[in-house]
Amino acid sequence: MDARLLLLADSRLPAGGHAHSGGLEPAVTAGAVTDVAGLADFLRGRLATSGLVAAALAAAACAHAHTGDQAWERLDAEADARTPSPAQRQASRAQGRSLLRAARTTWPHPALEALATAVREPHHPIVLGVSAAAGNGTPHQAATITAYGAITGPASAAVRLLGLDPLAVHRTLADLASGVDRIATEAAAAPDDWAALPAPSAPILDLYAELHMSADLRHFES
């Protein structure tokens, strides 16, 4: 694996992720996640739904970047169509914008410039896929990094919000690693026809995201 891809998967990448909890904070506020076991269930659900959708979009974006084609607006619209919650759309575009800034500086690549020109604030998985391509990654690797990020972001937020034991949380992440690999394989095997990309939804996450926007106390943007 190209070491540039390790940078892309690293939570220390300065791309704004630390201020987003991937829906974990509203789940904690609602009392749905209180301990490591609850976190494991949350992460499993997130991985199978929005994690798969994001991984498939990232794989498609990575493949598209390698072809040199530039139908970025259409792929971005596919991401919109799979993100019914306006709050989640906003969070995804905010993180996409931040990642685009980081990626253009870190791995300059024509596909990143083409994406930035075509879409003002592209969705996060699209930028992640193109960044993986810029780091010489395959669509499958783009999907793995994306699926991995779908669980590590909320896990880190849980350590901060609930004071969970970081070792126990990492044990949970390790247990989920084979699930990440399965989701990445499924995402990378998705059809070339973008309209047929996976689209499972998680209505409770959509609802949480909306409630979070009107909450009085918010540590995380989303």
Binding site: P14, G16, H18, A19, P108, R160, D216, H219, F220, E221
Partner: protein, 233 residues
């Protein structure tokens, strides 16, 4: 323009030079928001201003500034920092850069954007990628030994403000000692003793900001002249 210009992650400077970005950091309760409000009131008629607040968990500070109407609402933006105030000003400045750039887009011609950090510890330091200059705010009631302990904020900030001097007799803080200890770790960089209760306009700090803005404008026009020369030759 260099070959790397296309990859410059920051907004291109407007013709007059982009707004100066001033970070204000310091521990919880030292008076960062009150100082920000004071600077806005004192400087808003002289300069085109905007503020970004970094709250630990609420929009408390932005709301305070709005309630006190120190600036119009659309010149105040709050960012959330995911329980890590120093990460947002140092390790990952994305959210703050986005907020700064959005303000610059909305208000072309801004002279100064104040980025107020969430309350943090003594090691907090603004990234050079976010702030052109930074102020660190302590208060006398937080302990008169804090300057001696040093810390990155106390030692390296462009201006150290020691606030709430009116409380010194009540809490038994030795201001002379704080001044001596500060100058020892600051290599001659300035220290301002303030009491926003006694001088709500923070005149000394406002003067320092004026001089920094003046200097930045001078640098910009100097750079512009050099570019003109280069273009002409």
């Amino acid at each position: 323009m260099g070959a790397n210009h296309d990859h410059d992650p920051h907004t291109a400077a407007p013709a007059h030079g982009r707004a100066l970005r001033l970070g204000i950091g310091g521990p919880v309760g030292s008076g960062k928001t009150a100082l920000t409000a004071a600077l806005c009131r004192t400087l808003r008629d002289e300069f085109d201003l905007a503020v970004v607040t970094n709250d630990i968990y609420t929009t408390e500070d932005a709301d305070f500034l709005r309630r006190n109407a120190v600036l119009p609402d659309d010149r105040i933006t709050a960012v959330r920092t995911g329980c890590c105030p120093h990460t947002a000003i140092r390790d990952d400045i994305s959210a703050n850069l986005d907020a700064v750039e959005a303000l610059e887009e909305r208000h072309p011609g801004l002279d100064l954007i104040i980025v107020e950090s969430g309350g943090d510890n003594l090691t907090a330091l603004f990234s050079q990628g976010l702030a052109d200059r930074q102020i660190f705010v302590l208060d006398v009631a937080g302990g008169d030994d804090v300057p001696r302990k040093g810390g990155l904020g106390v030692a390296a900030a462009d201006l150290l403000v020691i606030n709430k001097t009116d409380l010194a007799p009540m809490v038994g803080s030795d201001l002379d000692m704080m001044a001596r200890d500060s100058s020892r770790v600051r290599n001659g960089r300035p220290v301002a003793f303030t009491s926003l209760r006694e001088q709500p306009g923070a005149p000394e700090v406002a003067d320092w900001v004026r001089s920094v803005l003046h200097e930045a404008r001078h640098d910009n026009s100097h750079t512009a002249r050099n570019h003109d020369h280069a273009a002409a030759s």
